[in-house]
């Protein structure tokens, strides 16, 4: 199982180590550093690195490498999932997951890690349980603790730990009972240079924030559950009921959690109606050309809304890695601001809202190294955007009901579409 954990910052220093079995020398990380040096970009460090006696499995989050050391055969996904859980927990506890935050709370971090694994076996990884065991640091609590001498470690056995609903603690009480669900869809797409869609898929999640008293039992039904044929559920969802009736029935955890994630691809459901499931909300007209023998290149980019179901496209951000040969750019945006970093060759244009009447565009010239030949590679354009109050796949919640408790909760459902990896080739 998981032997040790090292946290490494972007400059290659180990700033925290934790061992769950015998102590493994830090020198094991040398193999990691070697791999890090070989990688061109920080994110290109391979996630599994063999060393003579151990295996190093790492994830890069918030510019910190979480390097787990294992000695025997352990499923790598198990380790990676656990590391994600560590990151999530830190973020949950400290608001951010940075080196400074971890160092500021080193004792809590240590207590948490100790509670999360025992001898390398996961022990308590649910945030609800952890929070009962170790109270998250808050300014108020620190002050109170100092005055009263009380501690931030719970004295009681976490109630959820062994019940059939380990994700929920008992005795939850709220004055305002509310349940909010956010349907968030990210569209991943590759558009080729002629503007036709090569792949398009939607990664959707339903994130919930549930603050309800007692042991509420919720059911959530959809107008069009057929969209959801590739889903991953939070453990609280009763799978049998979903299989039989396509209704989500669950006792929710307390607080924030991800109820389900789903995947809609253009080919999954209706091979005949292929592209119609995944609508492409924006289009890009582009003309990026370099002429042989000239030290100037032309750059033209225009954005427009496509299938947005009448909702506005906002928070648009265009970025593109221009070829290495480009020295500088001289471009004029009709709206928003653009920057070009001559060192990394990264062009980014903060567009803002797309006004369908007056389409935003970015036009101008690029200067190339004098005498250099025309660049070989075609830049890819990366687009980010948001569309409020709409889920691109058309998924709609029908109703939300609560059983098991008597009060009337406040219910809210919000929809949003975002660009995930939305790429346009030129």
């Amino acid at each position: 199982m998981i032997h040790s954990l090292f946290l490494v910052n972007s400059s290659g220093d180990i700033f925290l180590e934790k061992h769950w079995k015998s102590v493994v020398s830090r020198s094991v990380c040398d193999y990691f550093f070697e791999a890090q040096e070989r990688a061109s970009e920080p994110e290109n460090v391979p996630p599994v690195i063999p060393t003579p006696h151990h295996y190093l499995i790492s994830v890069l989050r918030h510019r910190i490498y979480f390097v787990a050391v294992i000695q025997s055969e352990v499923p790598p996904l198990f380790v990676i999932e656990f590391l994600h859980r560590v990151v999530d927990t830190f973020q949950d506890y400290f608001g951010v997951c940075t080196e400074a935050a971890i160092k500021d709370n080193v004792v809590v971090v240590y207590e948490l890690l100790e509670e999360m694994l025992d001898n390398g076996f996961p022990l308590a990884t649910e945030s609800n349980i952890l929070k009962e065991l170790i109270k998250p640091p808050t300014i108020l609590r620190t002050v109170v603790n100092t005055i009263t001498g009380s501690t931030n470690v719970g004295e009681q056995l976490p109630t959820g730990q062994l019940s059939v609903v380990p994700w929920r603690r008992t005795g939850v009480k709220y004055t305002n009972n509310e349940a909010y669900f956010d349907v968030v869809e990210e569209i991943d797409a590759i558009i080729d240079k002629s503007g036709s869609t090569i792949t398009a898929e939607i990664q959707g999640v339903i994130d919930a924030c549930v603050k309800l008293t007692g042991m509420p039992d919720l059911t959530l039904s959809f107008m069009n559950p057929r969209l959801l044929d590739d889903v991953s559920f939070h453990p609280c969802v009763r799978f049998k009921r979903w299989e039989a009736e396509r209704i989500l029935s669950f006792i929710p955890p307390d607080g924030n959690f991800r109820l389900l994630s789903y995947h809609v691809s253009s080919q999954n459901l209706h091979p005949l109606r292929s592209a119609s499931l995944v609508a492409i909300p924006v289009y890009v007209k582009h003309n990026i050309t370099f002429r042989e023998g000239s030290s100037q290149g032309r750059f033209e980019l225009t954005l427009g809304p496509k299938q947005t179901m009448g909702k506005g496209v906002e928070a648009v951000l265009v970025s593109s890695q221009l070829p290495r040969g480009v020295l500088n750019t001289n471009l004029n945006p009709t709206q928003g601001t653009y920057t070009f970093d001559p060192v990394t060759k990264l062009l980014s244009w903060d567009v803002g809202k797309i006004n369908p009447q007056k389409l935003p565009s970015l036009k101008g010239s690029m200067s190339l190294q004098a005498g250099a030949s025309k660049p070989d590679e075609n830049p890819t354009i990366n687009i980010q955007f948001k569309i409020q109050q709409s889920a691109l796949s058309g998924l709609k919640v029908n109703r939300l009901d609560m059983y098991g408790e008597k009060y009337k909760p406040f219910k809210g459902i919000k929809y949003m579409t975002k660009a995930g990896k939305f790429q346009v080739r030129t």
């Binding site: 079995k21 391979p46 996630p47 990676i80 990884t125 070989d376």
Partner: protein, 864 residues
Amino acid sequence: MTDSKYFTTTKKGEIFELKAELNSDKKEKKKEAVKKVIASMTVGKDVSALFPDVVNCMQTDNLELKKLVYLYLMNYAKSQPDMAIMAVNTFVKDCEDPNPLIRALAVRTMGCIRVDKITEYLCEPLRKCLKDEDPYVRKTAAVCVAKLHDINAQLVEDQGFLDTLKDLISDSNPMVVANAVAALSEIAESHPNSNLLDLNPQSINKLLTALNECTEWGQIFILDCLANYTPRDDRESQSICERVTPRLSHANSAVVLSAVKVLMKFMEMLPKDLDYYGTLLKKLAPPLVTLLSAEPELQYVALRNINLIVQKRPEILKHEMKVFFVKYNDPIYVKLEKLDIMIRLASQANIAQVLAELKEYATEVDVDFVRKAVRAIGRCAIKVEQSAERCVSTLLDLIQTKVNYVVQEAIVVIKDIFRKYPNKYESVIATLCENLDSLDEPEARAAMIWIVGEYAERIDNADELLESFLEGFHDESTQVQLQLLTAIVKLFLKKPTETQELVQQVLSLATQDSDNPDLRDRGYIYWRLLSTDPVAAKEVVLAEKPLISEETDLIEPTLLEELICHIGTLASVYHKPPSAFVEGSRGVMHKRLPLGGDIGGSPAMGAGFGAAPAVMPASLNAPVGGGLGDLFDLGGGVGMPMGAYIPPKTVWLPAMKAKGLEISGTFARRAGVIQMELVLTNKAMSVMTDFAIQFNRNSFGLAPAGPLQVLTPLGPNQTIEVSLPLSTVGPVMKMDPLNNLQVAVKNNIDVFYFSCQYPISMLFVEDGKMERQVFLATWKDIPNDNESQFQIQDCHLNSDAASNKLQGSNIFTIAKRTVEGQDMLYMAIKLSNGIWVLAELKMQAGNPNYTVSLGTRRDGEQHY
């Protein structure tokens, strides 16, 4: 007010200061001090000097302080074992605490202290905690057994903790079950044959029930454990699959992949015409696709596993090609894996799409990736014949870009395309020749030279082209030199009149001016061939070449099957058998896919096979493995390198047990007759006479073919050597071990019994040669269950020597091939009872360990 303040005390006397604070009367001050100590510890500072002071803080009712002290103890107890004893009392007391949290904490911490003296005290509290009324304590104790086993395995066995742990599998609480399974699995890893996880339908049922209710991590442990089970028949297999499929919708990707493993394995047993089989196949695709939308690290592991799944069951993902399309900001390790899978999924139906993508990738920034994309186009051409033309034209387009490394890669793959489809695309040679000057990598130069030599008759200026390479002959790499030599000889054979001078030149360069033995030898061979018999030279050099195979990169089927059983593990990430690399784990414990229901026919047959894998490898490995190892051991032997192997004589019957008669002996096969060679020594005081011998029934029907020839009486301290010819027509009874032989020897004093084991190799008959075709067909027919694999260690022979050696023992090499530096010998053995045993021997140059896979077709002989 953050914890960073704990780091600030770096001035002199820090330890001293802390000591004072730790011994303070004020609780608050104490706790702050312990926190400082822990903070120093986390950054790797040595604070072990504070041990006694910290331990003194342990007896407290403040849970946080207690936990902090425990943290410290775990880290430093090992370096201060004597001091650590001081803590034992508090631990034992805490194990009796009314608060289950404290009981669990105490037993958990004690298990983490790797000090022998403490371990002794741990046993009693642990025993109590394993039977604690609170499941939280029980589940913690279960893990503690694994910890203790790691420290002192013997102690755990002696104390009977393993049995208690096994009982916990039937616990009412799913979390306890999951942890017990996890602990047992970990312990089992260091005891490959201990059979700790004795899986039977009842325990499987309990695990499946717990599976639905335990945490995600517990689900992973349980699923991995289930994957080791072999269902009795296809109905059991189906019912397990049905109960495992809901796990495919779990948010935790490790759960999903473990479930995929179970399903991939158990599916093997389902008849393919079953409706459920089709349903299951359909259910597997979406979760695998979903894994690809996760974080890149998860994607990487998923892709490595999908690579295996695609090779085993391409039908699962054949419609999902698009999800493997590369996004430009994927990390390079994800890009390369996606590319590999794209090629595996390429088919006539989707080749247009794939090629368009690959062409796109060839204009990316990352050089490694671009190269691999160009190679991928070549692989597509070789794999999908209908697409070859399109691939070639795509490659030509890429050559037109004149990007140096793209051109070079393209030429290398075009060479392969020529080898696959000879005389089809030679029209492009002209374009290739235009780029001759830009080639600076040896592989590309060699490929180009090969093309020029191979098609010399169609290239007008072939001689000029090759001559231009010849100028810098000595600066070229060996690869290019060898290729150039061959190409010019080919050219000479095709156009002898104009190129005589050129061939002279290259032959003298290769033979006289080069100190590379390979090059020189090849040069001499050509020279002699050309000078003695040009017709023969033509036949040799211009012989028709075998077409290159479509998928040279496929994983060997036996390895693939093993890896499928290990989906989700490190083995699956590295595509190597688990025995090959994880340190100190299991011996050779191979997992096999169960036999397919559609081959077995009736369920009854399936059931028969179900039980087999557990028994077979053990019984097969012992005698045969040993025997084959011995055959090689002969290695450096001087005596009779071509003869059959005869093990050294061993004492079968000591004098003590037989009233003074000592019998030692061995077995040999001489001129087709099995002989038992006995040495009888009389160590008693009196004369022995009237010898006779008899065998009990045995596995291969061995029986004495004549009486025991001891004609003269055997006097005290006299020794006589007799050899007894044996026949194989006696009564048959399966023995355990298989090659066991029970013998009775009678003399004038008494009857004595002993048993001995004969080498299986003795039963290999001389007419064991098999036709290649028959071999191939038989090899394919061997059910997986009848196959076994093991390694022979430390043997320094090359493949030819090994093959000769083995032939001396009637093991006949039927075919040989070389894949990636590994020599594979395919061998056949015929046993005296007419059973064929086929073997595959893998040897790698420089690696003294060989891998042998054995298989036999006869179903009845599965125990063999």
